[in-house]
Subunit: 231 residues, 2 copies
Amino acid sequence: MAVTPTRASDRDAGAPFAERLDLERMLACALEIVDRDGVEKLSMRRLARALGHDPMSLYRHAPNKAALLDGVADTLLRRLSVDPGDPDWAGQLRAFARSYRQLALDHPNAVPLLVTRPLATPLALRPAGTLRPLEDVLALLTGAGFTGAAALHAYRSLTGLLHGHVLNELQELVDNPDETDDLLRLGLYRLPLREFPLLRGLAAELASYDGAAELERGLDILLSGLTPGGP
Amino acid sequence: MAVTPTRASDRDAGAPFAERLDLERMLACALEIVDRDGVEKLSMRRLARALGHDPMSLYRHAPNKAALLDGVADTLLRRLSVDPGDPDWAGQLRAFARSYRQLALDHPNAVPLLVTRPLATPLALRPAGTLRPLEDVLALLTGAGFTGAAALHAYRSLTGLLHGHVLNELQELVDNPDETDDLLRLGLYRLPLREFPLLRGLAAELASYDGAAELERGLDILLSGLTPGGP
DNA sequence: GACTGTAGGCATACGACGTAGACCCGTTGG
DNA sequence: CCAACGGGTCTACGTCGTATGCCTACAGTC
């Protein structure tokens, strides 16, 4: 009886076994790494190790690391959905916004990708999932009587609000949640009292930030200001 | 006659001569690199080379690369000024916002630092220049009768608006400004027409984005909604 | 069956990276 | 004169992204 190696059984017993590789599994695993350790800890080599493969294998499925980062952002954004047929366009936008916020809270380490990848990748080269919400919102709003320009303006206003809000809210996430005293928990005692008297006095307000309510207020203002006619 | 090397004359003639090193010069040079080649091209080694020094010299003035990145963001933000004594608080905030936008336009490659470093560095550990505008805005608004909480809320709303706006506007910066046809210039022809019909049809609107006007509109809405009493 | 193309995986290698540790020198204060 | 010290440098380690090239297993054709 000869050897006839049964694929992926004897090879590399140490690694968490290496099934067939595909982009989807790569991105899912990459997202796990980002969630656990942050974007800067995601490397091609670590990802390959986590998948039980050789680093170079990854390049059969993604052209380079930048594409991988775009892909991770894409896997998150494609989870957002908009129903372009709903006549309650404001309700759809509101639901979209809430989902986006929740996504950011569930994957705070991935937020830098969500907000900065678009700066690195021109619109037309972004992965399809990233563009889907845009197209769907355009369909939703033009269907509700918005002109194209007004719909685009509304989308931009919405993403602006969302990016701004999420960046705000994630800064409030506290380094040391065990500490009960706000001043200590935020490390504010390090600030020179002479230079930052007001800031130090606002420890309580800094600590009690209601992100959900804040977003709703922003949405109230934004949505009431949007009209089918345009800006 | 012996050697008695005159410091920084014979050493390493290739490098652009190495004066005494200090944090300020380091940060200025780092910002140049970022402006020219982008954040990801800024490395300790390149920075040292540009300054005509050994890479390890940098560590005498900054504890690590993260601090350097914070420092670069800091050199930008400390250029913003707010006059806490001005009774026209809305005017001050408006001017602050315009300066921030201009800063972003002048240093687009540094914008990822401006928006994401705060996520990596807890508030109290940020460089002093970064906190200065916050303290000054608090002074401005409490001086105008705002409660502390209302002033903080206003500041957060403002930075949210600014971050969101700047991220929006910088995405519009076009890859190939030579191309006259909007569809070509934005690369939109790559998009599958079947999946993104609306998006492709909005090339003209995508290309003609007036960032300054957009920001002013946002400010009009925000500032008219702010009241000394709070949210 | 044999032949050929191709897709996916792996080994090796190169140059760049961040930074720890040790050494070295010039200045300063006792 | 000596000790301490601030600042510059050298060497070295482990990690990174990825170019190149080979090897194997399967798909399709005859």
